[in-house]
């Protein structure tokens, strides 16, 4: 609608390839045969790498709306990629800053997967802790079998940590949460994962912890209420972080095309790099962070709320916002202005 109002026509083509190879092939076809200017996608890191490669080879643009790996933002840094969804380091920084500055918890235990993802969470947490005078006093690895969670939790309890920062993929995160509640630790728990809505699951036993989120269905300020309402009415489900990122990506490209007056790739790229002041219903203009090509934005900290809910995701409430300024500064290892509480 936005483009139509100003005499521009923007068409959305949809593809759902089943494998990484098909993802690359499909993306190249879209760029070369269909002559699309931008591809929006990246449900996981492998798919995102394929899309990034296609954009580079075909001189198109890729807007990543789901993959969180630092590899995409560092080793595979590419000017033709814009990360609308924040990455591991940004999510860890949001959770960590909240633990330190709001919850006043600085003796951390770390529980991470033995994977590239886990290593990245650990590296980000270590950097942040060092820069903010927090300590990682105990590190535990995610067990191979879920039955071993109690052993890992015992390690953390014995270390008398006052917060546990967890970096797990969604499936193990869900089984971990079951064990966490049963273990009865008094520490704060912060969870970083690629799909928080899935990780939270549906059982009340997994509704625990503090979650850094891109978006939540309960947001109301800055017309978030209206955006949430429109999405739910149209799709009959709540707007979550991945969906918000996809919505934002479509709107960014459309807005760039309308304001720059062109759907040429270079024109859109120039606009996004130098003139983007995007309204993501987060109360401030969002723009590109040059260092890692992420969309600089505030994130939200969510915790379980009291009362009934139809899902665990709905059972969370936003307790704080971590400002873009704070996150940008943490990314560069600097201090920044105090973040604000939601109330």
């Amino acid at each position: 609608m936005f483009a139509n109002m100003f005499g521009k026509r923007v068409e959305l083509l949809s593809r759902t390839p089943a494998t990484v190879e098909q993802t690359l092939e499909s993306a190249l076809s879209l760029f070369r045969q269909e002559r699309v200017a931008a591809i929006i996608g990246g449900s996981d890191d492998n798919a995102a790498e394929a899309l990034q490669r296609a954009a580079r080879e075909a001189s198109g643009l890729f807007l990543n709306v789901g993959a969180i790996s630092g590899r995409l933002r560092g080793e595979l840094f590419d000017r033709r990629t814009v990360h609308v969804h924040p990455g591991v380091e940004t999510l860890v920084n949001a959770a960590g800053l909240w633990l330190i500055e709001h919850a006043k918890r600085t003796r951390w235990g770390l529980l991470v997967a033995e994977s590239a993802f886990g290593a990245e969470v650990e590296a980000s947490a270590t950097r942040l802790a060092k820069s903010r005078n927090a300590q990682i006093v105990q590190r535990a690895s995610a067990p191979r079998a879920s039955a071993d969670w109690p052993a890992a939790l015992t390690q953390l309890r014995e270390a008398q940590v006052d917060a546990v920062l967890v970096g797990l993929e969604p499936d193990p995160a869900r089984t971990f949460l079951d064990s966490w509640r049963a273990a009865g630790l008094s520490s704060e728990l912060a969870v970083v994962t690629s799909d928080p809505h899935y990780a939270l699951g549906a059982e009340s036993s997994t509704l625990a912890g503090t979650w850094p989120l891109v978006w939540h269905m309960s947001l109301e300020r800055y017309s978030a209420r209206e955006l949430n309402g429109r999405f739910r009415r149209r799709f009959e489900q709540p707007l979550d972080g991945a969906a918000w990122a996809a919505w934002a990506a479509v709107k960014i490209v459309t807005e760039a095309a309308v304001r720059a007056g062109s759907l040429e790739v270079q024109s859109i790229l120039d606009f996004v790099e130098s003139r983007l002041a995007f309204d993501g219903h987060k109360g401030s203009a969002l723009s590109l962070r040059e260092s890692d090509r992420e969309l600089g934005q505030p994130l939200y900290i969510a915790r379980p709320r009291s009362g009934t809910a139809t899902s665990n995701a709905e059972g969370l409430e936003i307790v704080a916002e971590v400002s873009r300024e704070k996150l940008d500064a943490a990314a560069q290892g600097r201090q920044a202005p105090a973040e604000k509480r939601m109330n």
Partner: protein, 319 residues
């Protein structure tokens, strides 16, 4: 005229003069307490509170100042309040989720923005029915009618646009791209320009009405400024803009387009109202549930009064 009659005549003329400059009242909609705060501006005191209905936001007086209209977003209606009795007398249909509205110069029609329907509706106030709707952008909000009544401007927050609607017949003429998240719009008294505030863009777009295009953009480079409400002084020389969480009203010179003054106003000023003589500016401060009265000559807040929860919009007229 004989000496015997002259003093009486003078008294009558004096009385008429007083009535035509009747003390102004400000009417402030309170979004979350579902009522209107009535303020005696001259005495700087709250005169009454009027319950009206759910989620009142846009507010305006009829040209004859006898009826107060209030948009009730959660009731899909416009409330009508009798100004003399200060009582709710009717609620009329204005399409879905009306947020703001404006009246035609003769008071016979009302143009409303329908926030969740992405439309603007025309209401015949005599018959009290919606007679037409046109599609506008996403999340329409601000509505203003040109002084000659020929055009209605409707801002749409999510499509960063102003829809230009002809009133006769009621149809969309064109759309103007403005800065990010436009909120409100105000015409100059001569109708040649319109000012559009952009909350996320931190700016005010100056529109050439004849050409339906942006003439220039005024950046409001004040700390935390999120431009929201906008009014033009009766003499057309100044433009007042509320900056929301920037906690200020800024003053723009309409000739130079420079910011020439600013008034600190605590509590997130949004809605603005101006007395007819232009000497008092009233702000609705939603975060603090207060109303501020500003002397527009000295640019000082002369009174801060309690309002209801979520003080939102302001209409000013004789009581």
């Amino acid at each position: 005229m004989s000496w015997a009659r002259a003093p009486w005549s003078a008294l009558v003329l004096g009385a008429l003069a007083t009535n035509s400059a009747a003390q102004p009242y400000a009417y402030v909609s309170n979004e979350w307490s579902d009522d209107i705060t009535v303020v005696d501006v001259a005495k700087a005191k709250v005169a009454a509170t009027i319950p009206v209905g759910k989620r009142p936001r846009g507010i305006a007086l009829s040209p004859d100042a006898k009826t107060l209209y209030v948009a009730l977003g959660s009731e899909d209606a416009i409330a009508l309040v009798d100004v003399s009795t200060r009582k709710l007398v009717a609620k009329i249909d204005a399409g879905s989720d009306p947020e703001m509205f404006a009246l035609s110069p003769d008071g016979s029609r009302l143009f409303a923005s329908n926030e969740d329907a992405n439309t603007a509706s025309l209401v015949d106030l005599k018959r009290r029915v919606v007679v037409a709707s046109v599609p506008v952008g996403i999340e329409p909000e601000g509505v203003s009618v040109s002084p000659d009544g020929r055009l209605v401007y409707v801002t749409s927050e999510s499509t960063h646009s102003v829809s230009v609607i002809q009133t006769e017949p009621f149809k969309l003429a064109t759309s103007i791209l403005v800065e990010t998240r436009p909120r409100e719009v105000a015409f100059t008294p001569d109708g040649s320009r319109a000012y559009v505030t952009a909350e996320i863009g931190g700016a005010v777009s100056v529109v050439d009405v004849k050409q339906s295009k942006v003439l220039t953009t005024i950046r409001i480079e004040r700390p935390g400024a999120r431009p929201k409400g906008v009014l033009v002084s009766p003499d057309g020389k100044r433009v007042f803009v509320s900056t929301g969480s920037g906690n200020e009203v800024v003053v723009i010179d309409a000739a130079t387009h420079q910011v020439t003054g600013h008034v600190p106003v605590a509590g997130r000023p949004w809605g603005l109202g101006l007395t007819r003589d232009g000497r008092r500016l009233i702000t609705a401060n939603g975060a603090a549930a207060t109303i501020s009265v500003i002397d527009t000559e000295t640019l000082q807040v002369v009174a801060t009064l309690p309002a209801g929860k979520g003080a939102w919009g302001v209409a000013v007229g004789p009581g």
